[in-house]
Amino acid sequence: MADPLCDRLKHLIVETLHLEDIAPAQIEDAAPLIGSGLSLDSIDALELVVKIEKEFGIKIASAEESHQALASVASLAAFIRARADAAKLPA
């Protein structure tokens, strides 16, 4: 069954980073986000962090923490679930 948080994150990735040729459903939960088939880099990751912090009301403290959190969609979802108020998560 699809994870609504992972789905939301995939839409955020495509919208925030202007990935014109990629549909959210094409992003695999466990695939590496940085340096992968998506060709995202650390600046893309930080742009995502700004959106994620605002949408989910969490804080990512450092470049090192953002690198760990954004290892994949699945790891990002786990990071957010561990820190965000449940009311901010998609149902």
């Binding site: 880099d41 650390s42 930080l46 990512i60 403290a61 450092s62 470049a63 090192e64 953002s66």
Partner: protein
């Protein structure tokens, strides 16, 4: 590819800087005492935000005033080089900065007060300074992030070597604003922790500081020489270096070749970030075996485009006094054994390497020695 960018020895006829501690003499003394200029400050100034390490000139707020509040302090620093003798055909001026008056553009956007706009562009900011100092129009403006000052020094050296100028004034200034602090905070490298350059720890953090400096370069006058200068541009990534450290090595190689057999100490860039700090320390250890490595941004913060000149002035003060300040704020373990945490006697050394690095994988280095 590595070869010297400039290898005609040019003299440093005058050099000084301005930091929150004061001029080069006062800053050098504060660094010897191990003092930090950085303190926790709201990253967005009046609008608050996380407390991050900033070092502002005494009495200056992060939010820009109109006219800019830093102008008076800059005029005081540059008083010895004020007047119409500069900015002429044979006495050109090179102004270098990363940010110029961008804090004024931030103030324009946040307050809507149109008066800020005139100082917001590089040329607008430099025109403000030029008129305040009474210089002529022969002013070149270089802007390449944290190697900006080095570019000014190389260009000035080339003008002198070509016989196209009698003396050249190089000026550098970078004063903080929410524009700059907010940007580095968004990059997640200006965090709540104080910077500890070259210290081996789990997370990195930088601090930012106000800074300005100037140097008068001459063919014949001055008690210090800029023997060799080098530049290298990796063009690998905006915020990361080639993982093999080859960019750092390329910039240092011409200096190592020129200084073979001589005893040097190294003033590194060392902002407090991890990967770049590690690569830089390793490259320095490789190029200059046994040379102590120091970095002062743990105290002063990163003064951005002005760091090359600010730290050159402190390096010159160190050579003049015989004492080099250690890497203030840092502790063991460090990336290499060569990192000097404490001040040391430099009288037995032949000179110093001063290195800076910038976004985009830009590197710059110079060899400073007694003339």
């Amino acid at each position: 590819m590595a070869f010297p960018t400039q290898n005609s020895a040019i003299r440093l006829a005058a050099c000084d800087c301005l930091t929150p501690f004061g001029d080069a003499f006062a800053t050098h003394a504060a660094l010897l005492r191990g003092e930090r200029a950085l303190s926790p400050s709201p990253v967005l100034g009046r609008e608050g935000g996380d407390a991050v390490p900033l070092a502002l000139l005494p009495g200056r707020a992060l939010d820009e005033a109109n006219p800019p509040a830093w102008l008076h302090s800059l005029q005081t620093l540059l008083a010895p080089v004020a007047g119409p003798g500069w900015g002429t055909a044979r006495h050109p001026v090179c102004v270098t900065s990363s940010n110029f008056g961008v804090g004024s553009l931030y103030a324009l956007r946040r307050t809507g007060e149109a008066g800020h706009a005139a100082h917001g562009t590089p040329h607008g900011s430099v025109e403000l300074v030029r008129r305040a100092l009474g210089w002529g129009e022969n002013v070149a403006i270089f802007s390449h992030a944290c190697v900006s000052a080095h570019l000014g020094l190389v260009h000035a050296s080339r003008l002198l070597a070509a016989g196209a100028a009698d003396e050249v004034l190089v000026v550098s200034y970078d004063f903080l604003s929410p524009f700059v602090a907010g940007g580095f905070h968004a990059l997640k490298i200006l965090n709540v922790d104080l910077p500890v350059p070259y210290q081996d720890r789990a997370t990195g953090s930088i601090g930012l500081g106000d800074g300005a400096g100037y140097a008068v370069l001459s063919r014949n006058h001055g008690d210090f020489a800029l023997e060799v200068q080098s530049l290298h541009n990796e063009m690998y990534h905006f915020t990361a270096n080639k993982p093999d450290g080859s960019g750092f090595a390329a910039a240092l190689a011409p200096l190592a070749a020129a200084a073979a057999g001589r005893k040097l100490w190294v003033k590194g860039h060392g902002t407090g970030t991890l990967e770049a700090g590690r690569m830089e320390a390793q490259a320095v250890a490789q190029a200059f075996s046994g040379a102590p490595l120091v970095g002062w941004k743990g105290s002063l913060g990163h003064t951005l485009g002005s760091c090359g000149l600010v730290e050159l002035a402190i390096a010159a003060a160190s050579l003049r006094s015989g004492r080099t300040p250690g890497t203030v704020g840092s502790a063991s373990p460090t990336f290499t054994d060569a990192v000097a945490l404490e001040p040391f006697d430099n009288t037995a050394f032949d000179g110093a390497v001063c290195a800076s690095n910038a976004f985009g994988g830009a590197h710059a280095a110079l060899l400073l020695s007694h003339a």
